[in-house]
Symmetry: C2
Subunit: 229 residues, 2 copies
Amino acid sequence: MRATMAVTVDGVLATVRDGCLALLLVRRGTEPFAGRWALPGGFVGPGEDLDAAAARELAEETGIDIATGGHLEQLRTYGTPGRDPRGRVVSVAYVALVPRLPAPVSGTDAAGARFWPVDRLVEARLAFDHARIAADGVERIRAKLEYTTLAATFVDEPFSIPDLRRVYEAVWGVSLDPANFARKVLGTPGFVVPTGARAPAGAPGGGRRPGLHRRGPAAALHPPILRPA
Amino acid sequence: MRATMAVTVDGVLATVRDGCLALLLVRRGTEPFAGRWALPGGFVGPGEDLDAAAARELAEETGIDIATGGHLEQLRTYGTPGRDPRGRVVSVAYVALVPRLPAPVSGTDAAGARFWPVDRLVEARLAFDHARIAADGVERIRAKLEYTTLAATFVDEPFSIPDLRRVYEAVWGVSLDPANFARKVLGTPGFVVPTGARAPAGAPGGGRRPGLHRRGPAAALHPPILRPA
DNA sequence: TCAAAAGTGTTGCGGCTACACCCATGA
DNA sequence: TCATGGGTGTAGCCGCAACACTTTTGA
């Protein structure tokens, strides 16, 4: 048993707010990088599974129980010597997708927490190598929407096809043809299941009320829904 | 700085031999699992980068310098408590693709090494959780061939289009239409560059001599070459 | 009655599969 | 000259993008 190292988990926690993809960042309360923004994370316990540690950190920082509506998956491991000034730290990064969140709660050792739209992440001047981890996580999310049904984890049930389309538009930063999008979604068995009901009245500018749906059992998309070139 | 753990790298080292995808396994010389087959790997040094540790282990076990013709990328990290009976060990797995290899050299702490075709991996009864790691690595390789030019790292230069096709057929375990395959490869700019020469005489059963090519500068495939359903 | 948004229909383009056919080579 | 395999041509199918059109709703 050779040299041992500290192992942490860091989470790229994503949601859709105000029509664009946003990540949860926390303001560090302790050195190093005190006062700077960073991805939520922490050390893995001696007998704790990596996935469990990621879920625990997620719950501590946001109050979200990932088992009830959400998605958590391993992203990549970052272990370059010198990435943490305290010593050798290997970080296993995770990506989490959650529906519209309650206001984030400040964690135990964080001085604050807020969502940052992904197109303003450079302003956050992230600590450690978290800018790179965040960029890798965002790209993973964008790619996953193409060939999985994960977009549905960003919306509350019941939802309409246009609600789902706005998720794709927010995450990819593009606008999609409503007609062709609906055909693709409805043409994939098990992606969404119609409830039979229509959305209640209350749309701001008028328009036909869309049909409502719930998440279906399918996880993969055949054929995929590809990003426009 | 909380609890520390041992960190290892394990390699899913793949090549194409006798028309099928094969992985390098080593026979363990020490406990635990002495005498059992396992993925090559070892502990990460205190000041060593993860990628560098993977390349070093690869060189020690096979004599291959990954910088000269080969591909190495991180696969995933496995850290479930109890996966190693010696204690808490977190393993960062890598996937490596190499051209036809010289006979593998027995490593310092391995009692033997040989290639196993992927369809006989169950017979190897791999140590630790290496069966799962190997399966994840094989699936990664199969998926990568669809949308990257990595298949060309399995062949020696110069190579013919049919050589490249046999790589796809070996990795995916299918047979492909030679005509359509050649069109897809030649229709992707930068995948292969023709040398102008033709293959030398010496084919066993006759037939026209195919044109020779080298690897091109492209890394991604647009459009992808998809596996048959 | 008008604007806005959901949903349906339709048409044209492009890629892909399957297969026929021609060319080069060794036995 | 025959079998084998590389390479080219072509016709049909399928999916998708684009966009016109109908329907439903709020103002």
